[in-house]
């Protein structure tokens, strides 16, 4: 049994290791991919293996590498073994159609990981909230604290770079932080929550908007929560309003239903309104087309 220690390592190290194992024809059930420190042998012993130059070429479809790279960001301890099993099946067992076979259990599992990571990236793009912390010459500086479910900072960073090119920003997370200064992205180790920036004064306006755009006559709490699960609420300035909005909604709707109907006011004198009326002179306007 080969033991491969992966703690703190990522996709590139896995790929080098997988190439080597394939070249030595080690079958998937002959490898144990370990991430928990201290269970087998000493930390780092097997890691040294991975510095070796990979030998032997392995041909797998390019689409698999994209998927594998995404899946590697998942926190599931099973991902490395799963990826190796698929590479093995693709190259050694020559199961060419494997990736297209959505009903295969390994492919389903891969798809599951990829989707979870993509969703997490999407939610990070959506729920990061920047806070303005100052200026550097004429560039505004913003900082955000975010807690992603998976290790996605690198996968998610490009989006922010393209969108917020014109300002300096940092996103701090427990795993890893990313910084943009207008010319390059930099990654630094993760930090504690206490590093999170102070609230931004704009948050009051944002909450005013959130409160006003909500329609109490259409309360659908479950629909909201399926898209914006509670685990994200801690870092969303608007989330503190949710409870009170829900609590008040019934009373607000009852007031609307009980409100007295307002009479119709006469048309004001206005040249434009008059011109509109003249355009349909000679009777009421009727339908264009054949819808009745």
């Amino acid at each position: 049994m080969r033991v491969v220690r992966m703690e703190g390592l990522g996709f590139d190290e896995w790929r080098n290791m997988a190439r080597e194992l394939l070249a030595e024809a080690v079958p998937p059930d002959g490898v144990l991919w370990m991430e928990e420190p201290g269970l087998f042998g000493q930390n780092g012993v097997e890691v040294a293996d991975q510095a070796r130059e990979p030998n032997g070429k392995v041909r797998v479809p390019a689409t698999f590498f994209d998927q594998a790279k995404t899946a590697a960001a998942h926190r599931s301890p099973e991902r490395w073994g799963l990826l190796y099993r698929i590479v093995w099946r693709l190259s050694r067992s020559e199961e060419r159609g494997l990736l297209g076979c959505a009903t295969d259990p390994d492919i389903r599992a891969l798809d599951h990981l990829v989707r979870a990571v993509r969703r997490d990236i999407h939610k990070m793009h959506a729920f990061v909230r920047f806070r303005r912390v100052g200026m550097r010459e004429d560039r505004e500086q913003y900082v955000s604290w975010f807690e992603p479910e998976h290790r996605i900072v690198r996968l998610a960073a490009g989006f922010f770079q393209k969108r917020f090119t014109g300002m300096d920003w940092s996103i701090l997370t427990p795993d890893e932080c990313v910084h943009w200064d207008g010319t390059r992205l930099q990654f630094t180790p993760g930090v504690e929550r206490s590093a999170a920036p102070e609230p931004d004064e704009l948050e009051e306006l944002w909450r005013a908007y959130y409160r006003s755009i909500f329609n109490p006559a259409r309360l659908k709490v479950k629909a909201m929560q399926s898209e914006m699960p509670k685990k994200y609420w801690a870092n969303l300035p608007e989330a503190e309003l949710i409870g009170e909005l829900i609590a008040q909604s019934r009373g607000r709707v009852e007031d609307m239903l009980a409100a007295e109907e307002r009479p119709v006011k006469p048309e004001p004198r206005n040249a434009y309104l008059k011109s509109l009326r003249e355009r349909t002179e000679g009777g009421e306007a009727t339908d264009p087309g054949d819808v009745s």
Binding site: G97, G100, C101, A102, T103, P105, H122, A126, R129, F130, R131, R132, F159, Q161, K162, R163, F164, T165, G166, M167, L202, L205, A208, Y209, S212, I213, F214, N215, P216, A217, R218, L219, K220, V221, K222, A223, S226, E227, L245, S249, V253, L257, A259, E260, E261, R262, P263, V264, K265, P268, N270, Y272, L273, L276, R279, T280, A285, T286, P288, V291
Partner: protein, 450 residues
């Protein structure tokens, strides 16, 4: 008036407009520019309100003062609502500040009509112009357009915006005459037709610029000449509209036929259905009681069937039954009435037939088509695709499954799919939270995807 109070009033005034999508903008980003912003692909929902709606854009009116008297609208001139008005700079500032904090994808700007259509449109356009030209803002902009505004202004709106829209509001002129006397269906559709030409023109120009155009002849909208293309200004990539549900007596068939016409003849990206919702300033001309929320949901589902599943309006409704079944989704309702189509063999049936199987979505149909090239599909395979088995079983044949014939013909099939009785409490009077769709339905409540 303080900015915060204005924001409250003018967001409150805009919230009855259902469309908040920020998808479908041309791909652009802020690299090489001096500001912020990017669009392209699917838009992002940055938050959700407890009404389940996506918050993607800063959706506000420039002013809620209005000359018109649309009886379903809180801003109509007969309403006593408090009025407010943003300056152009205030909207520009709010958009940028919200955007830079990653609260929004961009701006959705509309306005009550003040003085005249052109005057109003000019103000709306100048917000977009400042954002684009002064601040190099490259985020999403959706501008609501007034059909009576002059073509030059609409063209300018299209130049700055990713999407422009005109609300059709009600599917018939008769309905408008009663409830929105200043609005005119023919003028609205004329403006939509004109906008469609501009959008087509812009698409052709982009295509020929990127060198993938091929022959232009035959693909242009009628009346466009080749020489015009070179100097045409950039233009929005899509238009959408909204129809109110339950404000007048139009049945679903009329709403869907109007939507179908708009999709086919005017190439609209989206028609939004907005169930009429009670407002704080009710009008004497309108029913107080709103339609059940589920009606709007069924319309979105039917709309999806028209656009992606190859259905025709006349298959979903009939003169005898012009409204959709509130209790069953429209595909299931159709399947129960057209049992001769089933069972469909998942290993053999063509795509068009699989798309009509209740419980099979577009994505799973594609997966089935690709998987069956290598295997004969069994029920366990469908379970792995997370197909809702209870729903599909009576309608399919798989390698290890043949539905009982009498099961499919039996009248009890409909009863089997009806929701349990307590969920039929669709009326509003007993509090807004009584009817909640099942979790599976929730995900699709806005999109209508089945």
């Amino acid at each position: 008036m303080e900015l915060e109070r204005k924001l409250e009033i003018l967001a409150d005034a805009a919230k009855y407009d259902a469309s908040c999508a920020s998808s479908g903008g041309a791909r652009k980003d802020s690299r090489g520019g001096k500001g912020v912003g990017s669009t392209g692909g699917a838009g992002i929902c940055h938050s959700y309100a407890p009404d389940g709606r996506c918050i993607s854009l800063l959706k506000v009116l420039l002013t809620n003062a209005c000359l018109y008297d649309c009886h379903y609208c809180i801003n109509r001139r007969s309403s006593n609502v408090q009025r407010a008005r943003f300056t152009v700079e205030e909207v520009v500032g709010l958009t940028l500040e919200f955007y830079k904090r990653n609260y929004i994808e961009g701006l959705f700007l509309s306005s009550g009509i003040i003085q005249s259509a052109d005057h109003t449109m000019e103000l709306v356009v100048s917000v977009a112009r400042q954002l684009r030209e002064v601040h190099d803002f490259r985020g999403y902009i959706h501008l609501k357009t007034i059909p009576e505004a002059s073509p030059a202004l609409i063209e300018l709106a299209g130049k700055y915006a990713d999407r422009i829209s005109i609300n059709i509001e009600l599917p018939t002129q008769k309905g408008l005459n009663a409830l929105a006397p200043e609005k005119n269906l023919e003028r609205t559709q004329d403006a939509m037709g004109w906008i469609r030409e501009k959008i087509d023109e812009g698409r052709e120009r982009r295509r020929s610029q990127s060198g993938r155009g091929g022959s232009l002849e035959g693909t242009l909208a009628p009346g466009l000449e080749r020489k015009k293309l070179g100097k045409a200004v950039p233009f929005a990539t899509g238009q959408s509209t909204q129809m109110l549900v339950g404000a007048d007596s139009s049945p679903d068939a009329v709403l869907l036929e109007r939507a179908d016409l708009l999709y086919r003849d005017y190439r609209l990206r989206r028609v939004y259905y907005s169930g009429f919702s009670p407002i704080p300033e009710p009008s004497v001309r309108l029913p107080v009681k709103p339609p059940p929320l589920v009606r709007e949901h069924r319309l979105y589902q039917a709309d999806w069937l028209l656009r992606f599943y190859g259905f025709d309006v006349r298959e979903l409704t009939s003169p005898e039954q012009p409204d959709l079944d509130l209790q069953l989704d429209p595909k299931l309702a159709w399947a129960l009435k057209n049992r001769a189509w089933f069972p469909a063999d998942v290993n053999r049936a063509p795509r068009e037939v699989l798309l009509r199987v209740p419980g099979l979505g577009v994505r799973n149909v594609e997966r089935i088509l690709s998987a069956r090239r290598t295997t004969r599909l069994r029920l366990a395979d469908l379970v792995r695709l997370r197909v809702p088995m209870r729903k599909v079983l009576p309608f399919i044949v798989a390698a290890d499954h043949h539905p009982a014939k009498q099961g499919l013909d039996s009248e009890s099939l409909r009863a089997r799919f009806l929701p349990p009785p307590k969920q039929l409490e669709l009326v509003f009077e007993r509090g807004p939270e009584l009817w909640l769709p099942e979790p599976a339905e929730l995900e699709t409540a806005r999109s209508g995807e089945i």
